[in-house]
Subunit: 305 residues, 2 copies
């Protein structure tokens, strides 16, 4: 899977993914009013507004980017109706040739992680039939339960040519509360990083492993260390843009081959029309504003590569 | 919420919950064949088999127990169809007067955790309407992202009178890989425990807090320390039975008032008919085997309380 991701990154010259994290507050009133008019002010109405919003942004950006990263929580908040739109978004992006990174941050004891892996990146056996649930290409995984909670995801990566990004150092302000605590002279995130390398060794797909890592853009000194510790691990980098990470901060996430990282932006792209820089597009042309913000992000990151 | 849970525990004299984690392998062939006959060997067929299985077990045990704990992964593996049955199971259990602990182990950065909290234990605003997604009473939460990833769940507990159980020390074999690592002379799980106490201080509901902790039955010496560190925190205790935890191991999870913990059993109850001790019931009477296993578990734990 990582070789496909790299191929698409090289083709688009864009090591980025668009975070499809559609809060209702990001969606223009006209889109919401239309959806509520048809489906009511209901979970279905909300989900439909999300779908219309997503589709316009995907249509406007798909030719520029290798991948998208839908945040499942933004769909799950609307229950089943929201999750139907999550699934629809995954399929639609895949039809457009995009790699879909489901930001699900799952992780549990072994048998339970196996069920999550089957549902999101693998298949389930139902009688004599083999069925697929959400069918995403990559998902994010939480490592707090240790090896036996992560291994089932790695196994499915190996069986089905899929990938995972394991949380190592997250982009949020209090990520250091546990992740930075020092154990035998080194922060916890370094120990997790070493495990990620170990888990990924049997999942090499070309120069990189299908077992990647989440490394926040907001802590550049740490990404420098992590890049060194995990030379063959692809990084999914959240925190650029709205969360405060700059292109300069990203430099250390990449290897000298210009590869090794894919940078996410959610709000900065999907809600671009709300920012002063793109206000000229107006709410009506929100998807064009997203396209321009995508082009600007690619140029911005291109500067430091 | 915790005061309701305690009331139900005292009424049933059963500090236990039944883990509704229906792997297809646990479901008797006759139930699967009927569902596959009607809905095909499809995700819908699998989900229907799960639903029929769940309903029979709920009907056979509801009068004996205060709560159930559906593990969402076992539903999520069947995609949307599985999640519909998760929702149906939640509602059905609530109609029977049971408290539902959604074992979802969610956790992310602040705005994302807020969406998970809204969807599982809270409500979302859609236009002028207030809508609820899954509507569970409790969920489990992963703390790896620190305070800003957990606080949104606590806020919803306070607004909607719901509860959470934060992973502190899990029951799986490799839980110690990160959770037991020593920081300033103390294991990580103790630091997480102190944070759980801090997060829960503003969520007191009687003698206990709505912010609880997951503490595995498989590490009794650790639960003894954790009980002391978190005197007003309710424990959700997995690992009893099939995972190897015994009633003796549970003793330290309880306070002297006989309260403070609710013990989960999944496989040991829902797949009881497959165990030698309950083989006499036969696959046909699997729900009666589950009822007997529930009675036996209550008696077993009663011995040490």
């Amino acid at each position: 899977m990582v070789s496909k991701l790299i191929e698409k990154i090289q083709k688009t010259k864009a090591p980025i993914c668009v975070g499809l994290d559609p809060m209702l507050g990001y969606i223009p009133d006209a889109v919401k009013e239309k959806a509520f008019g048809e489906y009511g002010q209901t979970l279905e109405g909300a989900a439909q507004a999300v779908w219309q919003f997503n589709r316009a942004i995907i249509d406007a950006t798909a030719d520029l980017i290798p991948a998208v990263k839908p945040q499942i929580a933004m769909y799950e908040q609307f229950g089943i109706e929201g999750l139907k739109v999550y699934e629809k978004t995954v399929r639609y992006c895949q039809e457009k040739g995009l790699i879909v990174i489901g930001d699900v941050k799952r992780g549990d004891i072994g048998s339970t992680s196996a069920a999550y892996a089957a549902g999101h990146i693998g298949t389930v056996q139902v009688g004599d039939a083999v069925c697929a649930g959400f069918g995403t290409d990559y998902i994010t995984v939480n490592p707090y339960l240790g090896t036996d909670g992560v291994k089932p995801f790695v196994d499915v990566c190996n069986q089905c040519d899929r990938g995972i990004f394991v949380l190592v150092k997250t982009s949020n302000p209090s990520s250091g509360e546990f992740q930075d605590r020092v154990i035998d002279g080194r922060p916890l995130y370094e120990l997790v990083a070493e495990k990620v390398v170990e888990w990924g060794e049997a999942s090499m797909d070309g120069a990189y492993s299908n077992v990647g890592a989440v490394v926040g853009a907001t802590y550049p000194e740490m990404s420098r260390v992590l890049r060194r510790l995990m030379p063959r691990t692809y990084f999914l980098v959240p925190g650029y843009g709205a969360q405060g990470g700059t292109a300069e901060d990203l430099r250390w996430c990449f290897n000298e081959d210009g590869l090794g990282a894919i940078v996410n932006s959610s709000r900065g792209i999907i809600a671009a029309y709300k920012k002063e820089a793109y206000a000229k597009f107006g709410a009506e042309h929100f998807a064009e504003a997203s396209r321009q913000a995508t082009l600007d992000m690619i140029a911005d990151i291109g500067r430091v590569l």
